[in-house]
Amino acid sequence: MEPIDESQLVRVQRENFSIDRELDRVKSRSKRIGGIATFLGIARDRSKGRDVDSITFEHYEGMAEKKLREIRERGLKDFDILELLIIHRYGEITIGENIVLIIAGAEHRAEAFRACKWAIDELKQITPIWKLEHTPEGEVWVEEHP
């Protein structure tokens, strides 16, 4: 393992991110990495039959980062992976822009896919982040898990 600032591996930030740069960050963690599975969430122009103009994400600063760190640590413990990176954006996001990035690096691809899919599912379940959709009819706080 090369030295790296671990805080860079779990972030909640306003600015966009480069997937190439984040992949390099994960790759630099181990030369054993042979398969990297990535999930990228994008702002869509439709949601449950409604047109969407843009989205604003709000997060509970401190707790959101804490929950993402927990996901990374559990992922590294429970799956045969070498690194797990999680970035979520907040603030206003226009259609087609990046929202969330998960990168799981492993020796073999099956575990990279499993960990990546688990991490985004878990993020949606336990991370205090909220989504306000701006539509032609007004603003709606989205309830993904009623």
């Binding site: 994400f57 997060h59 509970y60 969330v100 336990i126 991370t127 205090p128 982040i129 909220w130 989205v142």
Partner: protein
């Protein structure tokens, strides 16, 4: 007095305040806090009873019997919608 952070629809239901300050006279458990909210913010209280809004204490999800101490960080969390 305890200060309660609000987010998303709970912020909206409290007149777009980012936080509430409430006097918690006795008991000092989450259920006592919810009783206070039932009085002052019945829509929020109802969402808590329906488990649509969760209460966190010091950044962990709390339950009815969780104790609240001075300086604890309390928040009302609407349904998460990240990702």
């Amino acid at each position: 007095m305890v200060t309660i952070k609000l987010f998303g629809m709970t912020k909206m239901l409290a007149g777009n305040q980012g936080s509430l300050s409430l006097a918690l006279p006795n008991g000092r458990r989450v259920k006592d806090l919810v009783e206070l909210l039932d009085g002052g913010y019945p829509q929020i209280g109802e969402l808590i009873h329906k488990k649509k809004v969760l209460v966190s204490v010091n950044q962990e999800i709390a339950h009815e019997e969780t104790e609240i101490r001075d300086g604890d960080e309390i928040a009302l969390l609407p349904p998460f919608a990240g990702g």
